[in-house]
């Protein structure tokens, strides 16, 4: 994809960043559970 303006470029990259944020927050919760569910306490 070619971008002519910084504005276009940022709209695209920040859109992806927001999707990543959602993915990060969901996966970190799952990962924490995976990491700790065999702890005794």
């Amino acid at each position: 994809m070619e971008f002519y303006t910084l504005q276009e470029f940022l709209t695209y990259t920040k859109g992806i960043a927001y999707l990543l944020i959602v993915a990060i927050l969901v996966s970190v919760t799952g990962f924490w559970l995976f990491l700790t569910d065999r702890d005794e306490d």
Binding site: M1, F3, F9, T11, I21, V28
Partner: protein, 363 residues
């Protein structure tokens, strides 16, 4: 030339489609410079040619079907005070005098400058503003929430709001006559200008033309094209005979494109989202561990205290038992001794008695 721009537009559409299909090379590096849409259009306003006739204001009002003004467009007394764009006027002409007696005032037309990197587009949270490939910054009324952040952001103080409408207020500003340009026509104001103070065309060519004018008439112009670099560049360009500050245009805006001001903080958002959970659960784990250690230490101290107390009590009991035993023994001994003493005494007495009886019998 106008029909050319229309053909170009269709060409761009095709090119854009091809670009999407072929994928193209992604622009990623942060030092990437974006040059804007190629062959984008603009207007050159030569303020030294403007006579302040307000024909452009009248044409703008007509083309955009705006409400009739209180004072007619031929009435130049409105130039007495400095005006800005509002919901009923997308463009205004202002007069600037060096002194009260100045015979040759400067007239400057003001409207949206159609930035290459518009601040209004950068801040709009529904993306209602877009820079079109033709050059105009266009507004989509159908998604606008009416937060008016665009008006806060615009460094040229252009967007206005329909504060008097209760249900359908819009942000309004010059559209560079985008619909007319797509039809191959000139913007209304450019078409109406009797003095050729407004020149419409390819922005790159306009910059070259402006440079040529400055070169040919160095005494007539200051050596600066306003809008070439201001706020990252604008589609409207200005030439002036005196400093731009003197004709009401800010020279302290800088050359940074508006989206750059917030690019850094936008980049920090996913970093916070990625690292805060790690940091916070880390702190939580540490404080929980500390609690646990403290709890363990406490319970250990308690159990120690209990054993100590128990052993102490034990020792005391043993001692007491021993004492009791001793006392008992003593008591028994005493009793035995008492009994023995008593027995001995009895024995002695019995003996004495027997002896006495014997003596009595001998007699």
């Amino acid at each position: 030339m106008m029909s050319v721009s229309r053909r170009k537009f269709l060409g761009w559409l095709g090119a854009a489609g091809a670009g999407v299909i072929s994928g193209g090379a992604a622009n990623a590096a942060s030092n990437k410079h974006f040059k804007g849409y190629p062959d984008s259009l603009g207007v050159l306003h030569d303020t030294t040619l403007c006579v302040g006739c307000r024909s452009c204001e009248a044409a703008c009002n007509k083309v955009n079907a705006l409400p009739a003004p209180q004072q007619d467009f031929t009435d130049t007394t409105v130039l007495e005070r400095k005006r800005r764009t509002d919901s009923a006027a997308f463009t205004v002409v202002n007069r600037f005098k060096q002194s009260e007696s100045d015979k040759q005032p400067v007239f400057v037309k003001k409207q949206c400058n159609h930035c290459l990197e518009p601040a209004c587009a950068s801040v709009c949270f529904v993306g209602a503003f877009k820079k079109s490939p033709q050059g105009a910054v266009i507004y989509d009324e159908s998604v606008c929430v009416g937060c008016r952040y665009c008006m806060i952001a615009c460094p040229f103080e252009i967007p206005a709001y329909e504060y008097d409408k209760a249900l359908t207020p819009r942000v309004v500003k010059c559209t560079m006559c985008h619909p007319r340009v797509l039809e191959g026509k000139l913007p209304g104001c450019v078409e109406a200008c009797p003095k050729e103070a407004l020149l419409f065309g390819d922005r790159d060519k306009l910059i070259k033309a402006a440079r040529k004018r400055i070169e040919r008439f160095p005494e007539r112009y200051v050596d600066h094209i306003y809008g070439e670099h201001e706020m990252g560049g604008t589609s409207w360009l200005y030439l002036s005979g005196s400093s731009f500050e003197q004709i009401g245009m800010r020279e302290d805006l800088g050359v940074t494109p508006a989206p750059k001001f917030t690019e850094g903080i936008l980049g920090a958002v996913p970093v916070v989202a990625g690292l805060w959970p790690v940091l916070l659960t880390g702190i939580y784990a540490v404080s929980k561990r500390k609690d646990k250690v403290a709890q363990e230490e406490q319970s250990q101290a308690v159990s120690e205290a209990v054993t100590q107390a128990e052993s102490q009590a034990d020792a005391k009991l043993k001692k007491a038992l021993a004492l009791a035993k001793k006392e008992k023994e003593m008591a028994v001994k005493k009793e035995v001794k008492k009994a023995l003493d008593k027995a001995t005494l009895a024995k002695k007495e019995a003996k004495k008695k027997a002896q006495e009886e014997a003596t009595d019998a001998e007699k």
